[in-house]
């Protein structure tokens, strides 16, 4: 009580002494107006409302109703909350906005989902090093499925060509282009491992990235500020940054999208593999698993004792990369 009175006194704007001389201009009158706190707040509120009104009004006289609607949607999108804090209604509003915005921009319709995790499902992945031949069908499928930027050749998956005899990523290359498999070489694919103890999510200053209950590490692209702390924190180089506005040809766009997955990104945000969340939460396997012609990629529910991934973990000598870091990747490698 005492405190608030003190602040009141501080905030109280003292009446300015009446200036002498010629009549004051409108601005001067406004600046020197005698004003108390309540009026100041009221004026500020009116100004804010007027600003918002201005934004709309700018499109009013000349623009089509579509342009007006687009401006409204973008305005609403700009102020939407972090996905983790959204109610179901807010989530569905957010995805409807994205669908409508794309429709307004391109005339084509997309389907954006905000489907949540399924109960008692924890996704895991296994990679058979003996089976990978370096064909890179997985990379192509991933780029197409996840609407990755074609201009910068973004790819979540890297295939590393190793000389037989050692597993050393410093001696391996991921820029090969020749007939595969090359004699005397073997191949290891890397991507986001969806660590159960992910270092990347802990460093995010805006909590724009987190691990979902089904184990998928996701990014809310609207809340990513592009600081790239997560990229520095990831020991596996699994995250990618959009240095420019991503380019996806309209005819190649995958219209089946998820808010936390393959929806269109903007310049200045980080993205990554989401185990194709738009597919996996639908019972499908990620695009890389489906595309692999040799069956080197295995995906399933770690909490289902009858799943293939569990059989691999129980019957094969599996290993993970940089296990000593304690990141607990849910991505295992094995050999026949």
């Amino acid at each position: 009580m005492r405190m608030s009175r003190k602040i009141d006194e501080l905030v109280q704007i003292q009446p300015a002494p009446a200036p002498e001389g010629p009549a004051r201009s409108g601005v001067e009158q406004l600046l020197n107006m005698q004003i108390d706190r309540r009026t100041a707040v009221a004026i500020a509120g009116t100004a804010l409302a007027a600003g918002a009104g201005l934004l709309n009004a700018a499109f009013n006289p000349f623009g089509a109703p579509e342009a007006k609607e687009k401006a409204k949607l973008e305005w609403a999108e700009f102020f939407q909350g972090n996905f983790q804090l959204m109610s179901e209604d807010e989530k569905s509003d957010a995805v409807r906005r994205l669908e409508r915005l794309y429709e307004l921009e391109s005339g084509k319709s997309i389907r954006v989902s905000a489907d949540g995790p399924r109960e008692r499902v924890l996704y895991g992945y296994a990679f058979n090093v003996s089976r990978c031949e370096g064909y890179m069908d997985c990379v192509r499928a991933c780029i197409q499925e996840n609407n990755q930027d074609r201009a910068s050749n973004m790819a979540y998956i890297r295939i590393h060509e190793h000389q037989k005899g050692e597993i050393n990523f410093e001696h391996a290359t991921d820029d090969f282009y020749h007939e595969v498999p090359a004699a005397g070489h073997f191949y290891i694919g890397t991507q986001c491992y969806h660590c159960q103890n992910p270092p990347c999510t802990k460093v995010c200053p805006t909590q724009a990235t987190w691990m979902e209950p089904d184990g998928i590490v996701v990014v809310d692209y609207n809340w990513c500020i592009g600081c790239r702390y997560c990229m520095a924190a990831c020991p596996y180089d699994a995250r990618r940054f959009n240095w420019t506005d991503p380019v996806v040809p309209e005819e190649e766009l995958n219209p089946n999208q998820h808010y936390l997955g393959n929806r269109l990104r903007k310049k200045g945000v980080v993205e990554k593999c989401t185990f194709c969340i738009q597919r996996s939460r639908n019972g499908q396997s990620p695009a890389c698993v489906e595309a692999c012609p040799t069956g080197a990629r295995i995906f399933g529910n770690l909490l289902d004792p009858d799943s293939e991934i569990r059989w691999v973990l129980q019957n094969k000598k599996v290993f993970r990369l940089k296990e000593d870091l304690g990141t607990e990747p849910k991505f295992w490698y094995f050999m026949d």
């Binding site: 007939e179 595969v180 019972g283 799943s307």
Partner: protein
């Protein structure tokens, strides 16, 4: 006197070092990649032994795979499905031409014309180990045969393959070898052996990668 002071200093430095080590250990235990969560993933998986609830979605395989057959009898392995192969064979049933035993068919050969199935070259095993009849037999050509002459359906080639490639077929039944079709959700449908491997030349062939590598002259921006 001087040596005493030195010893005092040394002792205090040692004590300081010890204290720092203590603090170091302390931070390691509370922060950093904590051991608690390491135990939790493995124990989470290990303790999940109850059958998983119906995930509420079903896998569906693309129509081009056609019929599936049920596979049972692998120890500790719940029944699963594999792609039926008969519908994928171009000239099945074989008895359309093979209406008499193999000897009778061979009698029909004409010297100046190519042999039937001339295009099939066996690149599977050395000739002394394997011939056409190792899998196809000399009798009913609509069926495969085992080494002991038992007939096996064309839909179940894994029974023939398993005679030599038992490790691979066990891995296939478990899920470490071969390719699952549809998604991770039940029902489990896997590709049959001959869906991926040409039984006459089972090794995968070398080819160019599906995407350009940075090493390519045609890589954009190069």
């Amino acid at each position: 006197m001087a040596s005493l002071r030195l010893r005092k200093r040394l002792l205090s430095a040692l004590a300081g070092l010890l204290a720092m080590m203590q603090v170091g250990c302390g931070t390691k235990a509370t922060h950093g990649p904590d051991g608690a969560s390491r135990a939790s993933l493995l124990s989470l998986v290990r303790n999940a032994n109850e059958p998983a609830p119906d995930p509420g979605v079903q896998s569906a395989i693309p129509a081009r795979y056609g019929e599936v057959t049920r596979v049972e009898g692998f120890p500790d392995q719940p029944p699963f499905n594999t792609v039926a192969r008969q519908g994928h064979l171009e000239t099945y049933p074989c008895s359309q031409c093979h209406d008499k035993p193999l000897a009778g068919m061979l009698a029909l050969r004409k010297k100046d014309q190519p042999n039937s199935h001339w295009q099939i070259v066996q690149k599977h095993a050395p000739e002394h180990a394997m011939s056409c009849q190792t899998c196809h037999g000399a009798g009913d050509q609509d069926k495969l045969v085992t080494l002991t002459g038992q007939a096996v359906s064309m839909d179940a080639p894994f029974q023939v393959c398993a005679q030599c490639h038992s490790t691979q077929v066990n891995d296939w039944a478990g899920g470490a070898h071969g390719k699952r079709l549809g998604g991770w959700a039940p029902p489990r449908v896997v590709e049959n052996c001959t869906g991926c491997h040409n039984p006459h030349a089972p090794a995968f062939e070398s080819r160019w990668p599906a995407v350009l590598g940075k090493g390519s002259q045609n890589y954009p921006g190069r």
